[in-house]
Symmetry: C2
Subunit: 604 residues, 2 copies
């Protein structure tokens, strides 16, 4: 070893002892005769002082040091002089008096400082990821990622789960997203595909008798790029045999509580409570979404009845078209000015609304009972007399100083718009602690969704979820009524993972395929292996796929999953450091029996 | 849950208690009025008895049961009648008296029995992998795999290693083997490549300051198929900063000892000894290979001197051509008949020898001193008089009843042939316990190998290994003399992994590239990211890549790594269950800007 102590370790107990440390020069400061450097490694920072009276050779060498040079230093730990202590670092009471220094490697001037305080654009960060990752924040994020993954291993191993690795080179069964494919050299014209998830594999493992499986699994999706998507992501994939929906939910709830508590400690306030459970229908009804953020209230209220007798065309038209009117109350937002209400209208429109009605309450009345005409403003005020507003406010529990937001449209759209407004306002109005973590279950999802464009049923989540036993008859009579043993884990308004009890009866599985309109050949091609396995004694089974990157980012208080991925790709699926993807040689193309057919602008 | 006990759990303490179990029907036996089934799950087997006097409904249902049906059974644990106990299973003293049975799923007749005793061809095993994996042996292998992987996580986490996931979608930098490539849909004509190992990534992680990294990493190689190779395999990948060769070796030695002892217990006899260390040169000298099997002796001995004065053309010709004569002693093989010696000659020839000379000693003499002409046989006997044979036998410590094997050729060939003969005879002659595990280190490998066909230097292992400091000058004067801080972990004659101290100086790295003959552009293309990283303060670092599948197979006593891979591919890189690789749609091809150019026979 080039060192016998890490930089972050020495403290007052080490005073007088000789140590050897190695690391990067974080900063150099010359104070007259003395040279100070902060030496950094993974464990922290140690102040080193070069005194020409202690060693003139070391002092001479130190005068050449530049940021990010790699050095090895031998010296004695001494107490810092009074007043020079630094409480913000673990070694702040001591410093290293250097006797010897060896320069292990030099460094060009880095493109940005190794500091958490600076702003750097993403392209530069990724092109110099090896510098970016040296920042203390990034070091902490990957230590956290390690810790969380280890906790998963420990928890599930203790509960008889077996970690089983499944293939990355598989077969293309596109579903939801496009597959990444890999041309075969040995089988001309054929391709492997990278799995979007190990779904069929883990179900086959249950048929193989493994009882309880998990995998920290890499999953691949060739998607058109949206914010914060990555071509490859990591999934905590798990599956259990002989279980009901509740067994899977309780297992995962235990695991996620355990991890969250281990990471956040007493800052995790939900720790001694059960996760809230909402049926899909209740979640939509109360929050307008199946991914409710339960850190705050502001629930959706249906107010069609209260508004059906106004003379507003907006409301009447919608109600005549079998639409609904629903609203939310933004507490304390009655003072919002034009700029702020315009922002809300823009958000409503970008969410699909044709408009947004708001009512702003001032604070000059003591209770809704006593509200007067001068106490509220609204663009639709002429249709909203005091009695109507009083009725609305009572139904919605609005208070003086609040704002009522109203959307009238078809139900799906109303819910989407209000849910987006609710999430936006919840954050804007500081209705919750940003650091709070609040998990919830949403269950009993519908199995199918009607695709109005294709005029056919599509799987709402995926094709493997089991219809609820009491809904089996609807498979034939009315697929839209079939709900499934299908559940999502939601946290702070984000989906953390999706699970279900799976179909294990090959005939029910075939029936589901046929409702979606898969032809015999297609079923055989995509799912033949699963149907075959189901014919040889498949146990009842169920499980979940949980986004690990998202979970880690959430616990770290990071919004973007790329912060917790060591070498993420850009929005255009590139790696600026490795410059991937890149061209391959003609020989490689030939060996794979493929030819490029480039669009015109690429051929030039 | 469909069960409150696993099948393998009930024992005499449970007698009288009511349990619910679920699993697969292993066997049904009708004994007059009583029906017995063995119910199987991951944990083991439980005998269930259906007595019409206990429940006629259950008895009726049970009479229909077939192998591999999935059932749930409720009943009472009772003591087996005296004489019916079965010591070979954990539940052998009890049985379940069934009150109720529910058929959860039926099964077609499986293509083979769920038993460790039967022989099945690989194609059938893989096509019905979900049946194959139900066999107790396979269940145990994957439990073992889980346990070993968990031990790695625990051991390395305890020693401050951080598990970091690196990308699967990377850039093609072919090296050693061909890359699997993935066409990009977003960047026409460009490709990702799947990593052959995370080598450059982990070195960049060291430059990023992570200090100690490990990863259970999937690695991909599009190789022409040899026995027991898989397109994807799992590597225990690790890297450490500020270390010397010995630090890496001791860390890995500690880890591998710990795991082996945890798995094998006192059957691991090497546990309290250090791994033997052999320099590359010593290993070649003594065993003819850099992958010596140290479970037995039978070392190679140079006998050029002893044979230089015979009149045999074979020997004289080789010595005149600067070749060598070396040999081994096969203890107790003096009785080998023509068939057995022919087998050895065939092996020698298939290993590249032009011939093999043997001398067979009978047992009719007490010591080599007293050997007479009638005591030995050899095809070359006319050139081998008693004095010569006596000299040989003394040099080689041969004893009455032994066989001496002699190969004369250029040194490399002699070593290869004798090493193969040694491994073959070591097993044939039962010179060691098949279950013994014996690790060793081979170190100080040469950095380059002269490629006689290409007339150029090639990397002996890989291009990132650091020349030994004292050999740096040879980089210019004589690359063949450069040895590196490069070491292999060897076990029972197999390479378990390879490691090295890496180059961290961009100039030395460039020098090594230039000796291999890489052009500037090529260096930039393949290694640009690493050279760039090295320019910004790279610490001294080193690490290893260790084949996890091979290690697990070795501890399990399995010869083939596909036994410890859940869904392995065949020798032609296919998966018979999923039928991968397979065709993709024209739309997929179009989206990827590629066209198939199939060989004639494929177009038909």
């Amino acid at each position: 070893m080039y060192k016998n102590k890490n930089c972050g370790e020495p403290n007052s107990k080490d005073i007088g002892s000789e140590v050897i440390v190695a690391g990067w020069v974080n900063k150099r400061r010359d104070h007259g005769n003395l040279i100070f450097i902060d030496l950094r490694d993974k464990s922290g920072v140690l102040q080193v002082v070069f005194n020409p009276e202690v060693s003139s050779d070391a002092h001479d060498l130190a005068s050449n040091l530049r940021s990010e040079w790699v050095v090895q230093i031998k010296g004695v730990i001494v107490k810092r002089i009074s007043g020079a202590e630094n409480d913000s670092i673990s070694t702040g009471s001591v410093e290293l008096q250097a006797n010897e220094i060896k320069i292990l490697n030099k460094s060009k001037t880095p493109p940005f400082e190794i500091s958490d305080e600076i702003e750097i654009d993403d392209q530069t960060r990724l092109a110099y990821r090896f510098i970016d990752l040296r920042r203390p924040k990034m070091q902490k994020l990957f230590t956290l990622r390690h810790k969380i993954t280890k906790l998963i291993w420990d928890y599930l191993s203790d509960r008889d789960f077996t970690h089983i690795e499944t293939p990355i080179l598989l077969k293309s069964t596109p579903e939801g997203a496009r597959d990444y494919v890999v041309p075969s050299r040995i089988h001309p014209g054929k391709f492997y595909a990278l799995p979007q998830s190990p779904q069929q594999l883990k179900q086959i493992l249950m048929v193989s008798g493994f009882d309880r499986y998990f995998q920290i699994a890499r999953c691949f999706r060739d998607e058109d790029l949206r914010a914060d998507r990555q071509p490859e992501h990591t999934q905590l994939d798990l599956e259990m045999s002989f279980v009901h929906q509740d067994d899977v939910m309780l297992l995962v709830e235990g695991l996620y509580k355990h991890i969250t508590y281990e990471i956040l400690g007493n800052n995790y306030k939900q720790n001694d409570k059960d996760f809230v459970r909402l049926s899909y229908e209740e979640s939509i009804e109360r929050f307008g979404t199946d991914k409710p953020d339960l850190r705050f209230g502001m629930e959706l209220v249906t107010i069609s009845e209260e508004l059906k007798n106004t003379e507003s065309n907006v409301f009447n038209h919608v109600l005549n078209q079998r639409g609904v009117i629903r609203g939310i109350v933004a507490p304390g937002a009655g003072h919002y000015d034009r700029k702020k209400t315009d922002e809300l209208i823009d958000l409503a429109k970008s969410s699909g609304a044709s408009g947004l009605v708001y009512i702003l309450f001032d604070n000059n009345f003591d209770s809704i009972e006593n509200i007067k005409d001068e106490n509220y403003k609204s663009p639709l005020k002429k249709f909203l007399n005091v009695d109507v507003v009083k009725g609305l406010a009572k139904k919605m529990s609005a208070k003086p100083g609040d704002m009522i937001l109203i959307v009238a449209d078809q139900e799906n759209k109303v819910n989407t718009v209000l849910s987006n407004l609710r999430n936006f306002l919840g954050e804007k109005l500081n209705l919750y602690d940003q650091k709070e973590i609040m998990f919830a279950w949403v269950y009993d999802f519908p199995l199918f969704e009607w695709d109005e464009d294709l005029k056919k049923w599509e799987p709402a989540h995926h094709v493997f979820s089991s219809p609820k036993t009491e809904h089996l008859d609807f498979l034939i009579s009315d697929p839209g009524k079939v709900h499934a043993d299908l559940f999502d884990l939601v946290c702070n308004g984000m989906e953390m993972g999706s699970g279900s009890i799976r179909i294990h009866d090959p005939n029910i599985q075939k029936k589901v395929f046929s409702i979606i309109g898969y032809k015999e050949e297609e079923i055989d091609d995509r799912f033949g292996q699963l149907i075959k396995a189901f014919s040889y004694g498949a146990p009842p089974h169920g499980g979940m796929g949980l986004g690990l990157d998202r979970f880690i980012a959430t616990l770290a208080g990071e919004k973007a999953i790329r912060e917790v991925i060591a070498f993420p790709k850009t929005q255009s699926a590139q790696d600026p450091l490795f410059d991937s993807p890149n061209k391959i040689s003609n020989q490689q193309l030939e060996e794979l029996f493929i030819n490029l057919i480039l669009p015109d602008e690429e051929e030039a």
